[in-house]
């Protein structure tokens, strides 16, 4: 006896099995990201306002990434629509775009991560703090492109009206340096939740891209044998992809803009 309702919907529920399955899975993903957003809220509310960063992420780059994902969402739905309209060639075109956009997103994200890992906060023995991007480092000196501050609090609100954006090349002797730490997840709980949320999201982007890539490539053979079943697979993977876009729609303002 074969498993029923793999393609034809069950009359009383109106759904085929995989659709129920993917929505259940997405429900669990809502809980997963919901818990991480709850953690973000708690950590931010628990922090002194002056010590919670603003403007540590590059907004134009984040906006571009948002537009990239939104575009990938429309190409995904168009890919499915092409299947429904029996236009296999256009399906191939649209999902090729989706995959390229997904890879673009991950590349931009990697650049952003790199930017954080090369950004250092250096406490000096004379009490000043030097903060900026690493230019070079040798055994006896470190060169950064950044600025000096006297109060650590000045490093936090970069979006404030009077925030200074002047940066210069600074050369420091190692002997002057008390501590030196880059803007990794260990540096501040804001960065911790940023890296965790966007890292987990990026893993979902890669996973989704892999599945869509498989359907675009080897999996597309099913189109000839059973086009309805293939279209359903495109729909299911599309639902996952839209969810990934949905999460980013919340991540972007929360982490970049607020």
């Amino acid at each position: 006896m074969d498993i029923p309702y793999t393609v034809q919907p069950r009359p009383d529920t109106g759904l085929y099995n995989a659709k129920v399955g993917v929505w259940l899975f997405l429900a669990s993903e809502v809980m997963l990201f919901g818990a991480l957003f709850s953690a973000y809220i708690l950590l931010r509310v628990g922090s002194a306002e002056a010590l919670w960063p603003h403007g540590w992420l590059n907004i134009p780059i984040g906006t571009v990434n948002t537009l990239v994902l939104i575009t990938s969402s429309i190409t995904t739905v168009m890919a499915w629509a092409s299947c429904k309209m029996n236009q296999f060639g256009r399906f191939k075109f649209f999902h090729a775009c989706t995959i390229l956009l997904a890879l673009t997103f991950v590349c931009i994200k990697s650049y952003e991560y790199h930017d954080k890992f090369t950004h250092y906060e250096i406490t000096l023995t004379d009490g000043r703090i030097a903060d900026g991007h690493l230019v070079s480092q040798e055994a006896d000196r470190v060169v950064i492109h950044g600025r000096f501050v006297t109060d650590r609090k000045e490093l936090f609100d970069l979006r404030a009206a009077g925030a200074s954006h002047a940066r210069e090349e600074i050369s420091l002797e190692r002997a002057q340096i008390k501590t030196m730490e880059n803007y990794g997840p260990w540096h501040h709980t804001y960065l911790a939740i940023y890296f965790t949320l966007t890292g987990l999201h990026a893993l979902h982007v890669l996973g989704g891209a892999l599945v869509i890539g498989f359907l675009w490539g080897p999996g597309s053979k099913l189109w000839r044998r059973d086009p309805e079943r293939f279209t359903n697979r495109v729909e299911i993977s599309g639902l996952f992809w839209h969810f990934v876009d949905l999460v980013w729609i919340f991540l972007f303002p929360v982490l970049y803009l607020l």
Partner: protein, 109 residues
């Protein structure tokens, strides 16, 4: 496969495509608005947060209702998502409430 699309010819399906494109433009617009709004000094940070979340929820609803076809989905799916929403909100709100509702008197000697 949903019943409203089941009996459609490819030609009839084309009208859905127009709807998808419209949602796409709305999402692009919404993104630019949300970035712009974040620069407006409302004075109160909570207002910025409220505006940003409002725009985010609107964009998310567009993606969910049209791209994910939730507008014409089945009751079973709505039911699953309703409970998920209740529990996710419960987790968020009750946890935050437990952090803000603290005992009135603390020993300080």
């Amino acid at each position: 496969m949903k019943s409203e699309h089941a009996s459609e010819t490819p030609e009839q399906f084309a009208r859905h495509v127009r709807r998808y494109l419209f949602v796409f433009y709305a999402l692009l617009f919404g993104t630019l608005v949300t970035v712009g709004a974040s620069y407006i000094p409302f004075g109160n940070r909570e207002v910025n947060i409220g505006v940003a979340l409002l725009i985010a929820v609107s964009k998310a609803s567009l993606v969910a209702c049209y791209f994910m076809h939730l507008m014409s989905e089945r009751k079973m799916i709505y039911g699953i998502l309703a409970f998920t929403g209740i529990f996710a909100l419960g987790l968020m709100c009750l946890t935050i409430a437990s952090f803000s509702d603290l005992p009135r008197f603390t020993v300080t000697h």
